[in-house]
């Protein structure tokens, strides 16, 4: 028994396979989180690149912005679709609300990285404080997105007159308000479908993230990580949370700016 253990201890080459090593100098959990995120990058990229593909298959609205009306013949101008904010009805404030959402998510990413930094220092109080701020940012973002969806689904006061094929395969011309998966007042049906699927999938990730953040916040607060001896779980969940922010950066550019 003792002979075997010395053999492993002496030879550094055999030590590679002797156990107790971390491939790529990262722990198992962190490595697996990175590879999960890589697979998630592909999922979101498939969504977003599909958006680009469908976007270029439609003509862009070419007239002056002031005369814009929604039509399923051309792609809408995003700043004229997303121009509302809560509590102020009928005021044209293009992209202000979504800019605020972006700011909230970036801010919560900053507080998350501060929590990770505090975790490296084993500082329980700082971890709990910054996790709470991150949690607050995440929940606020979800609330904003709920309002955004609500507004998108119910639509404007005027709506748009569209000619389209409804669910009963009838060709109808009528005033359409808001959006669903068949028709929407903003643009082609794909526009609303992509909006629902991409921001919905991202919102689903944020929801999972908020649950994970709460678990880490709770476990840090009751001292689980102190007893465990390290705060690596903060780091792993932090990776996930930053990824959610990373995806939003792309969603923001593709959906709201271009």
């Amino acid at each position: 028994m003792s002979a075997h253990s010395t053999a492993i201890g002496v030879s550094s080459k055999r030590g590679v396979w002797g156990g107790g090593n971390e491939p790529l100098k990262a722990s198992y959990g962190k490595l697996m989180m990175w590879f999960f995120l890589l697979s998630d990058i592909f999922t979101f990229a498939a969504f977003l690149i599909t958006y680009i593909g469908i976007r270029v298959s439609y003509p862009a609205y070419a007239g002056p912005a002031t005369d814009f009306v929604g039509s399923n013949e051309y792609w809408p101008i995003p700043e004229l679709v997303f121009d509302a904010i809560p509590f102020v009805h009928g005021v044209h404030l293009p992209l202000v609300f979504v800019g605020l959402m972006t700011f909230i998510l970036i801010a919560s990413s900053v507080t998350m990285v501060l929590a990770v930094e505090a975790g490296h220092r084993n500082d329980r109080n700082d971890v709990v404080k910054w996790m709470l701020w991150t949690l607050f940012g995440g929940i606020t973002f979800l609330g904003c997105q709920a309002w955004e969806w609500n507004h998108f689904i119910h639509g404007s006061d005027t709506g748009a007159v569209l000619n389209y094929i409804n669910v009963f395969s009838q060709n109808v011309t009528e005033t359409v308000f808001g959006a669903n998966l068949v028709v929407n007042e903003y643009g082609p049906a794909s526009f609303a479908n992509l909006f629902f699927f991409i921001t919905g999938f991202h919102g689903f990730h944020v929801t999972i993230g908020v649950i994970l953040l709460f678990m880490v916040f709770y476990q840090a607060a009751v001292g689980v990580y102190d007893r465990r001896g390290h705060y690596e779980m903060v780091e792993k969940v932090g990776l996930y949370w930053h990824f959610v922010d990373l995806v939003w950066v792309f969603v923001f550019t593709l959906f709201y700016l271009i």
């Binding site: 201890g9 790529l24 100098k25 990262a26 490595l31 990175w34 995120l37 890589l38 990058i41 592909f42 990229a45 498939a46 690149i49 599909t50 680009i52 593909g53 469908i54 976007r55 270029v56 298959s57 439609y58 003509p59 862009a60 700043e79 293009p94 992209l95 800019g99 972006t102 700011f103 970036i106 801010a107 990413s109 900053v110 998350m112 990285v113 501060l114 990770v116 930094e117 490296h120 220092r121 084993n122 500082d123 329980r124 700082d126 102190d226 007893r227 465990r228 001896g229 932090g238 990776l239 930053h242 990824f243 922010d245 990373l246 950066v249 792309f250 923001f252 550019t253 700016l257 271009i258």
Partner: protein, 110 residues
Amino acid sequence: MDIQENKSTLSVVPRNDDKIKKIWKTALILLLITAAEFVMAFTMPRGILLYVLFMVLTVWKAKYIMMEFMHLGDEVKPLIYSILVPIVFLFWLIVVLVKEGTVIFSLRWY
């Protein structure tokens, strides 16, 4: 041999102000890039130049988030490459789907 075990008390390391300053600096850069994108959306004419600028700024932001916030820059090189190299395949998907979309455009509208 040193075996990791569960310790009940951990010694708290004092704050390193340089590290924290760097985090806030990165946050400021992200904020400024977003603000620049915002201004560009309203001042520049829509067109291929604006879209390319948007994509460049977005990838620049993504670089800061991955390298600074996710600490990918602090990992060993093989890990960095095993995350970044597979993303190269996505450029092919972009080329294919843009081409496909252009063809559908010409079939549908002409």
